[in-house]
């Protein structure tokens, strides 16, 4: 049975390769490190895991961003293609043994849906392991972490990579945050040897020292295979109308810049754009992204979760980036040989060309990047 599934997977991969090349979507020449015609190292891969069901998670049906639920989709008029297509083979891979660093404002490490998820923590401000949110507004890190790694445990929603190991780094997003604290965060991530780094934040104008730190981790991290660094592209500043990415952290070449799509499978109005934009993922517009909230009366809502229809529903490119980070974790579990460039290629080359817009000879569009991430298709290419 496993062998049959593997053959099906290989055939799909081959067909896809033929399609991509035949349609002229390949991403450049052989010398292009991100080329879609690259050969992934598929030697000594771990056995294909059995399929796992997410149905028993009570909020799974609300997670329009990751899978198609017919009743939910129809009741809200959601485009049938709005999700990242995390079904079937996606449920074989859960991000097992993959280290995902989340750099954010604080984490409710006591959350019932993160039991067993958090392996290590570090606060760049206090130089301690205490990453507990400090203010009433420090809800963002828990929401982001939930999108990546909420456990498949019959509680709440489920993360894109519900078996990933979380390495959380807290930074103070207030008037005490310095360049050196941010550099410390990436140094800690490098020291931990993380596979993926999620950053749902940015400055709009990255400095040379921070850029150098990010590039170093991306190139030399993960034992030389390179850490996959994912940044949200930004939400258009104060007017919430998309801005050029420009010299933002997400615009660094070695970073995956993630924009946001909505329930109609189109770019959200606020999503930043430009030649640096790499990939789109659902970020919420009209409906939010169901995820974890700080427990009890703390957080956005009373209770432990923030829902798609909450008054303070979670969304934005902050929500899109962890979806991509989660898929990166699935890819690395599926094929631990993958380099950073391999993961980039698998994600961008497997994307859906959405939006009814023209993509250039590389398959790129300034408002949609290489398209919207398709988890299953990317996974099929690396096994």
């Amino acid at each position: 049975m496993r062998a049959a599934a593997f053959i099906v997977s290989l055939s799909a991969s081959l067909l896809l390769s033929i399609f991509v090349v035949g349609c002229g979507l390949a991403g450049g020449s052989d010398s292009d490190p991100y080329s879609c015609t690259r050969d992934y190292n598929k030697s000594n891969l771990p056995p294909l895991p059995n399929t796992t069901s997410f149905i028993s998670n009570p909020l799974y049906y609300q997670q329009w961003s990751i899978h198609y639920d017919r009743a939910f989709y129809e009741s809200y008029g959601i485009s049938s293609a709005a999700s990242i297509n995390l079904d079937d083979s996606g449920h074989r891979f859960l991000g097992r043994s993959v280290k995902v660093a989340v750099i954010d404002d604080g984490l409710d490490v006591t959350h019932e849906d993160l039991v067993g998820a958090v392996v290590a923590t570090y606060d760049v401000q206090t130089k301690t392991t205490n990453v507990t949110p400090r203010t009433a507004e420090d809800n963002h890190g828990t929401e982001v972490t939930g999108i990546i790694a909420a456990r498949n445990n019959d509680k709440g929603p489920v993360g894109v990579a519900p078996a990933a190991q979380i390495y959380f780094i807290r930074m103070p997003f207030d008037s005490t945050l310095t360049e050196s604290m941010i550099i410390d965060a990436f140094e800690k991530a490098k020291e931990w040897g993380v596979d993926v780094i999620n950053c749902s934040w940015g400055s709009g104008d990255v400095s040379a020292p921070i850029k150098a730190a990010i590039q170093d981790v991306a190139v030399n991290g993960r034992g030389g295979k390179g850490a996959v660094v994912v940044f949200s592209a930004g939400n258009g500043g104060y007017d919430a109308i998309g801005d050029p990415i420009g010299n933002d952290e997400s615009g660094i070449d070695e970073v995956i810049a993630v924009g946001a799509t909505n329930i109609y499978n189109e770019r959200t109005e606020y999503s930043n754009y430009g030649p640096q934009l790499d990939i789109m993922a659902p970020g919420g517009e009209y409906l939010g992204i169901t995820t974890l909230d700080r427990t009890g009366t703390a957080g956005e809502e009373s209770g432990d979760y923030v829902y798609y229809d909450s008054g303070n529903a979670f969304g934005g490119t902050s929500a899109s980036a962890p979806i991509v980070s989660g898929v990166a974790a699935l890819l690395i579990e599926a094929n631990p040989n993958l380099t950073r460039e391999d993961v980039y290629s698998a994600i961008t080359c497997g994307a859906d060309k959405i939006g009814g817009v023209a993509y250039d000879y590389r398959g790129h569009n300034e408002y949609y990047g290489y398209g919207k991430i398709n988890a299953n298709r990317s996974l099929e290419t690396v096994r």
Partner: protein, 131 residues
Amino acid sequence: MKIAAILLCGALWLSAGEYYYMNGDRRVDLQEVPSAAVKHSLKGGVLYFEKRDGEQVGVVNRIIVKFASMENFEDYLQRFNLKQLKKYSFGNMYLLEAPTPKDAIDAANALYEQPDVLFAQPDLIRHWSLR
């Protein structure tokens, strides 16, 4: 009397808009912001400025430098009155301490001019937004 004169000179120089730092090879001009206009501050000395794009930045007495080679490192520490706080694992990248925030700006700009320095800038307090 001497101290007052130095302070006056300093104030005049500040108002002339002579402050800047280098972000890589890009010069970023700084206009001083009166401390009363700043809602929050770190303990200790912080100089606050506004960039031309309106972003407010704070300068503390530290700089971040990356060297192409370490041949003149000790000489630079001595010449610019700097102290090593940390060596990063990102090549020859260092966090150095200057006596004051103004010294940090001056040292960073002087180091930037050296042929064996890849970049040098103050350790800035800036605004990074959650998205």
